[in-house]
Every structure is written in structure tokens, then in C-alpha cells.
Symmetry: C2
Subunit: 394 residues, 2 copies
């Protein structure tokens, strides 16, 4: 009966969103999501900002607005990117999007013909794989180690494949692995992509959520050729409920993204932009991010301590310096997707790792999130999960 | 340097959005936009709803939410569709979108391979042409008369063209023509599309804004085969600033749209949905729509009276029963795009008609909007425009 477009053959339900439906049951301890801690949302200051916007500028806030987004908010973002990411930019290089997910969709729309290759870290963010899948690319995975993407492997991949249109990377506290690229790798990366003349998407939702070590400059701050498309978002430093994020890129690219936005959605919500802009003008977001960082650092430590104590030695896991996730590798005969129902029986949930590999495989991995629950639930959940893992060891 | 996807060749700036940039100058009387009257926005009730949501449910409102959208809001929409459009539906047949523009994008994404045909009224909404253009279709235009699409012509088009994937129509107060299909044509239409087994997008942003005559049932209410994809929106009955709209369609289609939404944007903004839902629970939207209808009816009458008085007899225009637009046809030797700068010199703006024809041509038409300015500006603007038109007559 239905005769859908060919691209729909590639599209499947996101493992994470599907698991989130199950884990809405309160008795389940879920490490599956990637939700910010809701008890930290600055609700009262946001309410005051919202109230002020509607009192002072209701007619503007509720009306259509410019495709690229509110100029004042883009100014504030440019200031923040300089302060936090050492990126010198301005409002002509920024367009607002409804979450960074929309930024990924726009990149796929702008660059990808069917069969074009996208290079990714192995593993990488499954939401990015989903977004690009609508545009029917092939995926090339670059192996990673504890310091992220291995640059010699990237160079080799780009030398051997001439159909690469985009490289998608998360250098800071990667989703799902929690790994961060050191400065030297960032420099190597820029040298390699400049030499091979390819475009880069730098997805940086977690960069400000560093618990230890020094902040490292964004790839975009080292980009001398306008080839890095930087995705920033308010979802993890303020709240995801407004769906407010941005693309910072070369002006010629922003103009193209604006054409896509006109066609696909007209604009990002005026009132959301005005409320967040007002919040930024009247509050100290840095102080708020400090609270988030302290809380997540603590929860990360609680989870790692519990894993150290309860997990069998066969389980290997990353020790992130920031962000929301740790990544677990089990013996390769364990299939974490097959094991997930056993975990749900024990009232604990995780995301099986396979979905984070665009070409599949690696069934022995899982992603765990620690950002949005109290200590005792983390410890209890890790204990339960440890039992499930042990029962699956040979 | 850049190597964009092939689809970008089709994409050009929206005439309307480009003109809106120029017409931000306050001295220009602009009939070019399609903006709701901002002085009618129920700002204080929205402020109260927003305040209540953040006080009562801030943690939920600022967090991620379900892909399909807030269940309570989809219930309210289903109730409203029954009351206003005689459509029996429920929340499993509704997914929220960021404006109906996003619904159009999702339809293109779901159905269109390059070269597939989309059938449209001639003229039709240029934003829909833009949205579909990203998916590289061909367009087939069906001629219209004062009662909208001519059904014999539609039947002929579908008989002669076997590659039609979608028919896009606006049966109520069409953008740009202001025309409405009578009941008999709606019945004929459903018979024809059932016989040819094609899918239909019914875009209905203006249906509630009827000034005269009887409400007519939506195509979706006559759809016995699940082939009508209905697009509804809060933009014209409440406010566009939240970017809140919805798709109502067959359940199998909603599941596909949810997959696209997961990949393209994750979800519509949680807080926006909660605020509008709260507004609907605590206010009488019908009473508000009555105020909008009275105001727009009056402004429409003022514009038509002024056109009757000042326009030369060579100018023909529609007399809409609702909506936001009237459509002007000038002698066919006049090119309204070439004439637009002369109008801007006289400080009056309109949208040239050609952009509303997917295959171009028809340079002698223009769209005029009357919804968002006081009487004296409408009269003054029509006088100025009449002068410009007269100066271009042979």
C-alpha cells in the first residue's frame, strides 16, 4: 500500500529512545538515558526570565522571527564560545537549531548524497548515526583508544577513501565512551583534515562539564580554513526542554543552513530564544554549570567506585574526566542486547553498545549514564548489573 | 571548495522571508508577510499558563520528553479536531511538529525520491514548494478557478502521470489565493484520490478563521482509507512564536514520522507543549479565535473596499471568506517582480506571484496580506499600490 522513499529503508528506531519508554517505570534503575539531572534545573530563574519576556515583549516573543535566530542570543553565544572554547566568532557565523540533533540533520541535508562516506569514531553517538542515515551514506569507522580517535588510522582512512564528505567527532567526553582527545591529537587532527580537504562536524554538548584536568581548546578554535562545523547546545548546561542549540560555521555554510531552515522549519521558537537570552542576561550560567559539574563528578565517582567494587575483573570501563557516560566492555562472547532483558528482570537498564557502531558488531559493549539519579540508586543499580554480568560469564 | 549534496541545487531563498527582511523598516506598509496580528496575542493568559507550568512542573517542562509529543496536548488537539473539523481521531494518530513547515519537511522525507511527482494547486503555498524542493521532486500543477482546484483537471493529471507520490492542497482560504473548495469538490476530490490510490497532504492553518458562510468538513473527515495527512497548527489561532503544530495521519504513517523526528530533531520542545496545553485547559480558545476572526474580517473588508475604490479595473482579485490573503491578477504584460522595487520606492510591499507556482511563470500576480495592520495603513498602502499598478498599465 505505502510507497515510501528509498531513504526510509535505512531508518530504524533509536535504541535509546525505545529503551527510555520501558524505563519510565519507576522501579527500574535506568543507566540507559542521557538525561540531565532535573533537580538542578534553575527553574525559578527561568520562570522569572519567562515572566519578564512575556511582560516586556510579549508581542515580539509570540510572533515569527528571523530564520537564523534572535540576534541578541547569537551575540551571547558568540561571547560564551570565546570564553569557554577559545573560539573567535560573531552572530554572522551562528544559526540557532532545535537541539544539536537538528544541526546534525542539517549537515546531512547539506552535504550527503546517497553513498557519500561519513567518517566517525568507533564507537560514536547513535543519534548522529540515525540523523545521517536519512541521507543514505556509507560509514567509515576509525578505531579509538583511551585518548579517542587514533590519528594514524584517520589518515589511513582518508587516504584510502576518496568519497568522504564529512567527519563527525566528539572530542570532549565522548558519547558513548566518555573519552577525551588530548591537545596533541587535536593538532594532528586539524593537520590531517586540512591536508585531505574534508569537512568536520565537532559536536560539543559536554565540553563545559569537565570534572578534572585542564579545559582543552575546541577543534573549531584551531580551524584556520573554515572547515569545522561546531555544534553547541543549551541542553546539558541549562535544560533540554527548550530544544535550543546552535551551529557555528563558515559564513557561506551558515547561509546554506539558513536556506535549509527556511524550507524545513522556518525558524527556531522565538519565545524560547528570548527566555534563554533573558536568563543569560540576568543570571550567572557559569555558577550554575559549576553546580552541575560538582554533582556529576560526584555521581561519576560513585558509579566508578561501585563498579570497582562489584563488577567482575572481566568488565573493563572508561574513567571519564567529564560528561555523562562511561563505557563498559565485557568479554566478547557476551551479547549485551541479549542480556538486556535479564537486566530488566533485575530492574536495571543500560544501552547495548552495538547501536553506537554504524556498521554494527561489538555486541559486548554497553553505555552507562550516571547524571540523573542519587547515589544509592547508582550503587544499587551497579550491584544488580554486576549480578547479571557475572551470571553471563563463562 | 564546497561540495554540497545535489539536492541543494534546487533550494533557493524564500521570496517571502527575503522580503520580510526589507519590510522590517517601519515606514514601509507591507502586505508581504503572513503574520498574525500581534496585538491580539493573549499575552497575559499565556504568561499565567507559563508561570503555572514552571511553578507546578518545572522539572518535567525543562526535561526531554516523548518523540510524539505531550500526550495531554495531543488529547486536547484530538478533541478540538472533532469539534472544529469533524475529524474523529486520537493521540495515536497525532505527532507534534515545530510548525506545519516541519510537517511538510517530514512528508517530503517520508515519501519523495528524486523525480517523484507532487501535485499542487496552481498557485500554491511557496513554503510547501520550498520544503519539497529539498527532496528533488517534479511538480504538477492543477489549474484552479474561483472554487479552488478543478477536479476534472486533477483526474486528468493523475491519469496521465503515474509517478505521483503526494497531492498537496489547502482547501480552506488557500495561501496565496484565499479561495475555498465547496463541499461538492471535496467529495469529488476524495473519490478521485481513492480511485488513483495517492496520498494527500491537507494543510489547514486557516480553517478556523472563517468570516462568512458555513464551516466545511475537512478532507480528513471524509477519509475512509487513511490516505489524508492532515496538518494543523497553533500559529494562526494562538501564536506562531512557540512553533507548535501537528500531523494527524494513519497510525502506520505516524510511526514513520516518529522515526524521522527521532533522527531529525528528537522531539518538539517540552515546555512549549506544556504551556500551550495549560493555556487550553484554563482559557477559552474559541472566544479568542472569535476575536481574531472579527478583526481579520474587518481588515479584509477594509482592504477589499480600498481595492474596489482605488485599483484600476484591470486588476482582478479574490474575495476570501476567511484566512489572511487576497490574490491579485494584473494584466499579463505586468511583471510583479520587476514592479516590486517601484512599490518599495513608494513604501509599499507585496509578494510577487511567481514564487507560488512551482514551475514558475504567472509573473502578473501578487499576494496581499491584511491581517496585521490597522485600517488606515491598509487604505494608505492600497492607494500607494494602486498608483504603482496604474503607472505600469499600457
Amino acid at each position: 500500500m505505502y510507497n515510501f522513499a528509498d531513504r526510509m529503508k535505512n531508518v530504524k528506531a533509536s535504541d535509546v529512545r525505545e529503551i527510555l519508554k520501558v524505563t519510565a517505570r519507576p522501579e527500574i534503575i535506568s543507566f540507559a538515558g542521557g538525561l540531565p539531572a532535573p533537580e538542578l534545573f534553575p527553574i525559578e530563574p527561568i520562570r522569572e526570565a519567562s515572566d519578564a519576556v512575556l511582560r516586556e515583549s510579549g508581542r515580539v516573543a509570540l510572533q515569527y522571527g528571523p530564520t537564523e535566530g534572535l540576534p541578541r542570543l547569537r551575540e551571547q553565544i558568540a561571547e560564551r564560545m570565546l570564553k569557554k572554547n577559545a573560539i573567535h566568532t560573531d552572530i554572522d557565523h551562528i544559526i540557532m537549531t532545535a537541539g544539536s540533533q537538528q544541526g546534525l540533520d542539517y549537515c546531512g541535508m547539506l552535504f550527503l548524497n546517497p553513498g557519500d562516506a561519513v567518517v566517525m569514531e568507533s564507537p560514536s553517538y547513535l543519534g548522529a548515526i540515525n540523523a545521517f542515515n536519512l541521507y543514505q551514506p556509507s560509514f567509515l569507522e576509525v578505531p579509538t583508544d583511551e585518548n579517542g580517535m587514533i590519528m594514524e588510522e584517520l589518515d589511513k582512512t582518508l587516504t584510502e577513501n576518496k568519497n568522504v564528505k564529512l567527519i563527525y567527532v566528539i572530542p570532549d567526553f565522548q558519547n558513548p565512551s566518555g573519552r577525551t582527545w588530548p591537545l596533541e591529537r587535536r593538532k594532528q587532527f586539524m593537520e590531517i583534515v586540512n591536508r585531505h580537504d574534508v569537512y568536520v562536524i565537532e559536536d560539543n554538548p559536554y565540553g563545559e562539564l569537565r570534572y578534572k584536568g585542564e579545559y582543552l581548546p575546541a577543534l573549531k578554535s584551531m580551524d584556520t580554513e573554515g572547515r569545522v562545523i561546531y555544534l553547541g547546545t543549551f541542553s546539558k548546561i541549562l535544560a533540554p526542554g527548550y530544544r535550543l542549540a546552535w551551529i557555528c560555521a563558515d559564513k557561506a555554510l551558515i547561509e546554506k543552513f539558513a536556506l535549509i531552515a527556511q524550507a524545513a522549519v522556518l525558524q527556531t521558537a522565538t519565545i524560547s530564544m528570548m527566555v534563554v537570552s533573558k536568563f543569560l542576561d540576568t543570571n550567572d550560567l557559569d555558577a550554575h554549570v559549576d553546580i552541575i559539574r560538582e554533582t556529576y563528578k560526584h555521581r561519576c565517582d560513585v558509579m566508578l567506585d561501585a563498579m570497582d567494587k562489584y563488577f567482575p575483573p572481566e568488565a573493563k570501563y572508561t574513567r571519564p574526566d567529564g560528561g555523562l557516560f562511561t563505557w563498559v566492555e565485557l568479554p566478547d562472547y557476551i551479547d549485551t542486547k541479549a542480556m538486556a532483558p535479564q537486566a530488566l528482570d533485575k530492574l536495571v537498564a543500560y544501552v547495548p553498545g552495538e547501536g553506537f557502531f554504524p556498521n554494527g558488531g561489538n555486541k559486548h559493549c554497553m553505555r552507562l549514564n550516571y547524571s540523573c539519579m542519587p547515589d544509592e540508586r547508582i550503587i544499587e543499580g551497579i550491584q544488580r548489573l554486576a549480578e547479571v554480568i557475572k551470571a553471563n560469564l563463562k
